[in-house]
Symmetry: C2
Subunit: 215 residues, 2 copies
Amino acid sequence: MVKVNDTKERLLDAAHQLLWDESLAAASVDAICEKAGVKKGSFYHFFKSKEDLVAAALEAKFQSVKPELDRIFSSSVPPLDRLRKICDFLHQMQRQKLEQAGRVVGCPYASVGGSCSSEDGTIQGKTRDIMATQLKYLETAIRDGQADGSIPGRDARAAAESVFDFIEGAMTAARIRNDLKPVQNLDRGVFAMLGLPPDPLPGPAKAGAGAKARA
Amino acid sequence: MVKVNDTKERLLDAAHQLLWDESLAAASVDAICEKAGVKKGSFYHFFKSKEDLVAAALEAKFQSVKPELDRIFSSSVPPLDRLRKICDFLHQMQRQKLEQAGRVVGCPYASVGGSCSSEDGTIQGKTRDIMATQLKYLETAIRDGQADGSIPGRDARAAAESVFDFIEGAMTAARIRNDLKPVQNLDRGVFAMLGLPPDPLPGPAKAGAGAKARA
DNA sequence: TTGACAGTTGACCGATCAGTCAAGTAAAGT
DNA sequence: ACTTTACTTGACTGATCGGTCAACTGTCAA
């Protein structure tokens, strides 16, 4: 009995699911309403426009994963571990979405933000804001790493931007190719971008030919 | 008088311009026809569907820049120079499109491919093909570099994929933020990704504070 | 001269788009 | 008991979507 009226949440959930699993184009007001089991009149009781709902759905979803980001990027974790963890987190999330949605979905912010003309101010602005916030996590981790000597270089901001662009590019590639491979070893690309030697093979003494698992 | 009937070309041009400058959603059949100065009936005389036209427009545009790619990635050019040149080429192209379209447009293949549900087989398939072809240029250059010792590492394919993802991510970021900055120094990210030292500052003795241009 | 045919035209189709609205329900506030 | 308020509903609008069609035009070949 914690919540009797969850209409708004159902709309936000349905919208984000359509945005992420399908596309901005697939997330029509009618489709969102049908998926949420809500009539269109109710939709416009809670949101003044479709743009409004889309922006709210992106924001709500980001807020829901933010605690996880705060945990992963905790200052109590060594900077390189934060990077390893976020790469693994992104990979696992894509794997989970693949099972649930039946396809690789990539990053919703890049997909949605990239698929609107800049005129759609509200939506693209929201994706910009969220991605800027995500960038800060990377920037802080890299700056901490540079401070403790675990990461070479001095310009944490520029390094974070490059790493972020690489990750987003890999997510987009995974979506377009409908293939998890681009996001399977994000840490290798991230470490290379930062001028770090690649991680030793995961798992202790995992038999000889680790590289063969590629095939 | 070389061409009396350029209707098909006008449709392809108009379509690609809308796809690139605006979005897949903005490239409606009506909008394409209006921009091309062609009636819808004629459209369907040349193309059997909108998907058909979009795929053809993407392919046609790629074919039109292919000679430039072949020149940039010529085997007669040192591998590192090929990478420098393609980064500069992409930057200049984005700059030119910015002037022409009034905004940063990014990579049309990533934008279009990322903004359709995988169901749109034809279109997403075409973007996949084109991007796979582009990847081969990078792969060859990197393999040549690894062969002559100018690039460290052994797995040219994996390195090319990482570099490609980074470049695409930067193009997408530039589009979403409507800002050229992410594509202004692609070579730095590319070189870092390949484990290379950054290029020395461009231009001989370009006054002291090169880094100040950032602000 | 007459077809044949590539190309063009504008009217038209049903479906779907985002968004509106008046009427209704039900619970909370007075 | 009465009103206010939050929410729901289904029918509706005009615009636009992708796509069709029969009729028309010009050109070139037989």
